[in-house]
């Protein structure tokens, strides 16, 4: 991919254009009122566009090339031979799981969409939901999902089984989780997989599926993103339940004193 500043800027502008047209149209023809602080808002939009452009160029320079090569090297037959396990065993790929886990965690911490949602959640919950702790929880969920996802590709077990089990867990958790965390938890699933995570994860999945004998990239290479949208829901619901337990516990302790 081209990493020239103007090329990436143009791509980002293309991404933003429909939104600007839509908001402009509604603002001018339907609302017929000017927005408060138009200059500040315009400045904000320019910040977002330039910020995303720099962000993408930076990732393209620093992470994507190495990420691709790493995914390839970690699953290459010569590297697997040194693992001490037979290449047919899923255990031989332990570095792949560790890599998937750590890269999932690291990229999610830097995910702009998640920063946006965590910021808003912190704001409207009056600080009750910590921005950092929400992001760490979600990142942990993505990390786990990628480790399990690579395990699935390596073992060749069917994707839908995992997804269905995940859904059942989410449904059960929904029954017990505090009401205020539910919508946020569901949203956390959707925001984890955008700018940063998708390219790395897609490269990892398709790379693994093409290296491991007997895997078909079309059938087995996909699905990592789906995992990465499911596990954070479970993680955030769990986080909500955990907070609830802590509150309950401290309350009970106070009663004792």
């Amino acid at each position: 991919m081209d990493t020239g500043f103007f090329y990436v800027l143009f791509q980002t502008l293309l991404d933003v254009a429909p939104v600007v047209i839509l908001f402009g149209f509604f603002q001018i023809f339907i609302i017929k009122k000017s927005i408060p602080n138009p200059k500040k808002v315009l400045l904000g939009i320019i910040f977002v566009i330039i910020g995303l452009t720099l962000f993408l160029i930076g990732l393209e320079m620093a992470l994507f090339p190495i990420g691709d090569i790493m995914a390839e090297q970690l699953s290459s037959p010569s590297f697997i031979k040194n693992s001490g396990f037979s290449p047919e065993s899923w255990k031989a790929y332990y570095w792949v799981y560790i890599f998937a886990f750590s890269i999932g965690f690291a990229t999610t911490i830097a995910e702009p969409s998640l920063i946006a949602v965590a910021f808003k959640a912190n704001q409207i919950s009056g600080g009750k939901i910590g921005e950092k702790s929400l992001r760490i929880t979600v990142a942990f969920g993505v990390a786990l999902s990628l480790a399990v996802g690579t395990f699935r590709i390596i073992t060749g077990t069917p994707l839908y089984m995992y997804i269905l089990v995940g859904y059942v867990i989410v449904i059960i958790q929904t029954i017990f989780a505090p009401k205020h965390i539910i919508a946020l938890a569901y949203d956390s699933g959707g925001v984890t997989t955008s700018t940063v995570t998708v390219p790395i994860v897609a490269a990892l999945g398709l790379g693994l599926a093409s290296v491991i004998p007997g895997r078909n990239p079309a059938l087995d290479g996909f699905g990592l993103i789906a995992f990465a949208s499911l596990f954070p829901i479970i993680a955030v619901l769990g986080y909500g339940q955990f907070l609830e337990i802590i509150i309950w516990f401290t309350k009970n302790k106070k009663h004792e004193v």
Partner: protein, 229 residues
């Protein structure tokens, strides 16, 4: 702070596990710096730009009192941001390649382009549709889990009937539809609406739009697969 984990992971695997020298160390350092500056600008821009326009639009539309206008806006927001989404274009093209290789569509560029475009339209329609339903939910105050669990059941049922080749792709399509620009705007719209309407709690009712928008594309892509194969 935000980028430190990435640098640590990459350095650890490159130097300790793979035992290879760092290629283009200066590229990595400059790239890391750009990522940090970019994120700072992005967050600043969110606060003074994207969140305020999303919320003022929610406020203005709610005050107008026209359900029709609000839902039209919701649909247009979902549809327009998805149809141009680069990640979706990439996934759609990939899907078209796979189906032409499998022989389900003719192996010529025109048929492949048609297929990819059809896929993009069906995903964009599904996102527009889910934002409409999601906004309607906020207005009515339905609990979010009804929609989500309903969506899960649809996904499960569709999985049984959909062709095997499309399932992994369909599951992934849910994740790629919500871009970095869409998420803050949709969040601001939902939270803005839930703060204005009496009896709604922004935390309980305001979130959830994105969740539904990542669920429906799975159903639509599997349906599209069933039509084509």
């Amino acid at each position: 702070m935000d980028v430190l984990p990435i640098i640590l992971v990459v350095a650890f695997f490159q130097l300790v596990v793979l035992k290879q020298p760092f290629p283009n160390l200066e590229n990595v350092l400059i790239g890391g710096l750009l990522v940090i500056v970019g994120l700072m600008l992005f967050v600043e821009g969110l606060e003074i730009g994207l969140f305020p326009i999303g919320e003022s639009m929610a406020d203005a539309l709610a005050r107008k009192g026209s359900l029709y206008l609000l839902l039209t806006f919701a649909f247009a927001l979902g549809f327009s941001t998805t149809i141009a989404e680069p990640a979706l274009i990439a996934v759609a093209n990939k899907a078209a390649e796979i189906s032409s290789a499998a022989g389900t569509i003719p192996n010529n560029p025109e048929a492949i382009a048609d297929y990819a475009f059809g896929l993009r339209i069906s995903v964009a329609l599904s996102v527009g549709f889910s934002i409409v339903i999601g906004v309607f939910r906020i207005l009515k105050g339905w609990p979010i889990y009804i929609l989500i669990i309903g969506g899960y059941i649809m996904v499960m049922v569709m999985t049984i009937f959909a062709p095997k080749e499309i399932i992994g792709l369909a599951y992934d399509a849910g994740g790629v539809t919500t871009s970095t620009i869409t998420v803050p705007l949709v969040t601001a719209l939902g939270v803005g609406l839930a703060s204005i309407i009496k009896g709604r709690n922004p935390l309980v009712d305001g979130f959830g739009l994105i969740a539904f928008a990542s669920l429906m594309p799975m159903v639509f892509v599997m349906a599209y697969g069933m039509l084509i194969y």
